[in-house]
Amino acid sequence: MTKMIGKSVKRVEDKRFITGQGQYTDDIILPNMTYAQFVRSPYAHAKVLGVDTSEALAHPGVVAVYTGADFAEINGVPCGWQVDFKNGDTMKEPKHPLIVVDKARHAGDAVAIVIAESREAARDAADLVDVDYEELEAVVDPKKAAEEGAPLVHDDVPNNICFDWELGNPKDEVDAAIAGSSHVTTLEFTNQRVAPNAIEPRSYIGDYDSTNDKYTLYTSTQNPHLIRLLLCAFVLGIPEHKVRIVSKDVGGGFGSKIFHYTEEALVTYISKQLGRPVKWTAERSEAFLTDAHGRDHVSKAEMGFDADGKITGLRIKTYASMGGYLSTFAPAVPTYLHGTLLQGVYTTPKIHIDVVATFTHTCAVDAYRGAGRPEATYLLERLMDTAALEMGMDPADLRFKNFIPAFNGIDEPGYATNVALQYDSGNYAPVLQRALEMTGYEDFRKEQAEARANGKLLGIGFSTYIEACGIAPSAVVGALGARAGLFEVSQVRVHPTGKVSVFTGAHSHGQGHETTFAQVVADKFGIPMEDVDIVHGDSDTVAFGMGTYGSRSLAVGGSALVKSIEKIIDKGTKIAAHKLEAAEEDLEFAEGKWTVKGTDKSIGFADISLTAYVPHDYPAGLEPGLDFSSFYDPANFTYPFGAHIAIVEVDKDTGKVSLKRFIAVDDVGNVINPMIVDGQIHGGVVQGIGQALLEHAFYDEDGQLVSGSYMDYAMPRADDVPMIETDRTTTPCPHNPLGVKGAGEAGAIGSTPAVVNAVMDALSTYGVKNLSMPLTSESVWRAMKG
């Protein structure tokens, strides 16, 4: 049988999507279903003095209208990660109510929910809800929020500070290292807020079955079991075994569908109140206002160098917005997913980061593709290219000079950073070397010089990133504030005929698990892929799981899968030994059969499967059946890395930036399906390009989201980007059975600084060193005008 691992197998899930047979939540219509429409605050900050629902209730087709008072006794949605203040004080964690009672804290905060017989009736009636607001002053900037006298988002959170935090070497040592440097590069950045914009808007259906006292929540989530846990144990107080979560096909997530949202709890709760299913699907404008945003950091970054260009120290101060309420994993993003990555791929001997997390009158900010790691990479890689320019060095040479030497994590324990992490394995120079070759770097520099002479502005930008994937192990993340375990679960059920059903707690919303996971199973058992079915996204069929985010599915979920596969093979070996009348140690399992070593005596996988379920002639004392579950809690994170190079041309007259080429060489460890990994890189890269050049979830000073629709929010379209030139090196992860690291976020982490660096390189003759993203024609044109 041909090996499936490492092959670009076409995706098995595609058939339903290309024929229109996918089943996304909004595709479901249940009998007797009602429709929900929210009344949302038009103000970023306002007292809610009264809500008059009488006219809405009288509207034809309206079933019910609820306001904040109806849920006053119910808990808010919880935060899943606690980061305490430097002085030990507990993180400020104000209630995030299902519907606001006293004050609206961001534009789009829900004030009432209307339930009606039809979508149209719900919408009409929502317009009839009369809310009496008293508008208050708002603050939207994460740094200004911490200033004395800033309007308070929560009255009991002084200076809007949720927590402060630091990490790294002692501050005085870092200060001394930087003070003693022969060169210091200093940059002040805004890593602008962006909207994740999965193309499927969030959609939920709550369905209470009174006969069995059981709830079903159909939800567009990345994270079905965690949603069940949070919904049951923390918000509604209903028993977990009475709740089923279904999230079959989900139209993209990029982080925004990890979190437990208020709307999920509301449709679940109200479906019991009404005895009818309740559906809510976000409109795009609601998605902009309420899907947790990403980034929104304001930072000052200083990097010191010695006379040879070796980094001597790094000092960072970051203000990070949490938005109006704490979303599920928000506190982890600017801290344990950001500060911990500041070693980058460099030998920087002294590092210190200081973070202040603030509440602002904006939509919540949480993990968005990369989550903290793009922000960290942006700081480091912008510093590196800027420093090279300032010191008159080549940006590639500066990196080669500072790379951590290669290590494989087998001959040595890995690389201990100054910011709490232990890298698993890495070999950083070859990815940059390969990217330079693909670029034709020397030729490009000649072309650039000629172009300049002819009045054309070409630029090249670099980014050599590292990231941390598959966040785990549970004990470590627990010590760092996570209120959840971060293991993964698999169940492998071999049927009597030798066909296999796999139940995984990982969740695919585009990643192609039905293919990749099946490739692993087919190879390990030596059976055709068609004999394997991958089931995910239903808490009644999948025992447990932690969902998909942080590029964790294969590294953690795939490892859990391998554990169950090994248990099946071990038990199969016992059965085969009995059938073949041989000792277990004399058997080998390969190509789908157990063979007595050195003989032609063998028995196939299907025979053993049947025997396990028809155990007439069977080992004494062995249980029948061939069905195993495993929980896998990894030993460490995994650390993919790579080198990205962007080449841009800037139009002198208009400031328009055209991305001419993008080269991405990534090392994501071993690869199961190269086609799928390339696709993940392409998509991530273009999302990162979007942040560099186009995207900004921009709040004005009154807290209005000015770019709150696709008419206003610029996202990459097909003709904004070139083909992405990709290649890989392979440095296996030493601590998981497949040697895989994770590929989902890499593209978005590496690409943004590469593009911005390229534009700065193009503008270097103008003396422009730093511009805030997105690099629109206007901002580039203004910079050129000085």
């Binding site: 999507f17 024929t19 909004d26 139209g251 993209g252 795009r284 990643q511 392409h682 097909a718 980007v721």
Partner: protein
Amino acid sequence: MKKQINLTVNGKAYSHEVEARLLLVHYLRDVLRLTGTHVGCDTSSCGSCTILMDGQAVKCCTLLAVQADGADITTIEGLADNGSLHPLQEGFKEKHGLQCGFCTPGMIMTAADLLSNNSDPSEQEIRHALEGNFCRCTGYHNIVKSIQYAANKINNKEVAS
């Protein structure tokens, strides 16, 4: 206010009395239960709802059902010919032109319009034709390749790997 509409969808004739305000996309999804046509925005910007109406790609989230009275409509469900995939459907599978699949029906219908007018488009022509369709997963790279695959297949050209 209700109005009678008669139209053909995927080769089948339908006659319904619909509210004048009913959007065509909701008629297709909720009344005919053809849920392959998706709603990704409310401003005609994302293209997830693209269908063929009288042979032309249109965004049916900003058309009323009553505007489709008398029209001949093809949705993603009607693109395959007696169970045999359209070259575009085949191309999207062969070239990994989709990940989450949500934008895919709209992409394919837009590309069908392009290929019916220009059976051998350049990369830039393909990218330009897709300007009205968002994909957040693929970075468009493999969507372009999928459409090139389909064009080559339609033109009986050797398909590049």
